[in-house]
Amino acid sequence: MERFDVTVIGGGPSGMAAALAASEEGASVLLLETDSMLGGILNQCIHNGFGLHYFGVELTGPEYADRFRQLVEQSGITVLLDTLVIDVSRDKVVTAVSREKGLLSIRAGAVVFSTGCSERPRGAIGIPGTRPAGILTAGAAQKYMNRMGYQVGSECVILGSGDIGLIMARRLTLEGARVRAVVELMPYTSGLPRNVKQCLDDFDIPLLLSHTVVEIKGKERISGVVIAEVDENRVPIPGTEETIACDMLLLSVGLIPSTDLALGMGVEVMGSNVMVDQHFETGIAGVFICGNTLHVHDLVDYVTEESLTAGRYAARHALGSGTSGHLTAHIRPSAGITYTVPQTIRGNAEEEVTIRFRTNRVYRNVRVVLSADGREIAAEKRKIMVPGEMQTFKVKAGRLNGIRGEITAEIKEAAL
């Protein structure tokens, strides 16, 4: 059986970064990708706004992917495209299939899961009505349009104000379609403020907050949707129904990390995220998880940053050149914080530790506080935090050193 020090599953931005970092550490690296090219979802994100943090220049998705693809090509990384991983055993034997090579078994010293995420489909949100053609998830429509060149519809309603939905509202408009409305169940948008501005406001596309689709109409093809306002419990208010004619309904109602393979290995989960330490290692030694498989990001730049760390430590594990040590602390999200990554700290954490999290609502002029045993160990002021924007808290080197047990992460009123 062929053996690689590090096997990376998924060749999007996360997998490419992890593979490169592992290779730079001197590990032999295998990168497996189901698509016929590396780059993942970046290949269909033709808009700009990528790379400002990591490269210091503004790039489109395909350009960001191309930069990493070139680095992968110049490295000694073995890449297998059109290859689907179907199982990873507890002793790190990766089983994959490809049209060219058939069934493959590879032994890995360390495994990195960078399998991304998938879109929440219609079935998961239970919209009543008929089941005609013309109902797509926003990302699927983006692929049909941007990579395959199809015009997916001409009169469109978008349910959910996630970033992909907002981006698609602009793309459809520029391709000649008319976007009748973006309908959002919550009283706030889940997309980035800049996308509301440049994708909706610029084109006078109405954003209907606290609204939802209550019925889908049409036989062969969707002919319209009924929308209604919802109350504070997100229940439709009778009498507020309104019909909008359309030939396409796009769903942008959330992304779910694709963790099936990792869960199959028995990794531990906290909430909807796999538990990792500050180096993105799961509870199983030598098994790492990063990118949108771990938690869904707004910015690819942060995916890259996290995945480089994951790849580096995966290589160190495989080469035996450094262990992370024992689990020393858990980070418990509290008061306004929905989750954190990482959720655990291993070893002495002498280096800077980056903690990312999201909030449950909008907060203004508050402090983000980490405490242990009732004592503040790190705090930072924030002017504004919204649920749609992932927050980053870089905890200075040494602050978590020697902390044992539980670390509480919470939002507190700022002292005036």
């Binding site: 033709i46 808009h47 700009n48 400002l52 503004e58 395909p62 520029l174 800049r194 440049q198 610029d202």
Partner: protein, 114 residues
């Protein structure tokens, strides 16, 4: 005084801009690009345009971008001009396809290889 959501990067700073005697004073911007953007947004708003065009002999459509901002009211003209380009495969990523779209001084650049 008006509040502007900065679109220069995904941070989305909320900038307030106020006209003063000889210019604008801004608050809330994390960087100099934000100040420049807020002033531009109030005086002459611009946007980077990205879109697709079909290329003869290519399996996938070609994605392109403008190298800088286009006046907001000319976005649709810009898209029409780009879509009217007649190209044949291969087109390399980074190729300048138009060097002065609509007389704006801004280039149109291929963002992938087809």
């Amino acid at each position: 005084m008006s509040e502007i959501v900065c679109i220069q990067c995904p941070m989305g700073c909320r900038i307030t801009a106020q006209q003063t005697g000889n210019g604008y004073e801004t608050k809330g911007n994390a960087c100099a690009r934000g100040k420049a953007y807020a002033i531009e947004e109030l005086t002459a708003p611009k946007r980077i345009v990205t879109c697709l065009l079909l290329v003869e002999g290519a399996e996938e459509p070609l994605s392109v971008k403008t190298s800088g901002g286009i006046p907001k009211e000319r976005i649709f003209d810009c898209v029409r001009t780009i879509k009217a380009l007649k190209l044949a495969s291969p087109v390399e990523i980074g190729t300048v396809l138009l060097d002065d779209v609509l007389g704006t001084g801004v280039c149109v650049v291929a963002t992938k290889t087809v």
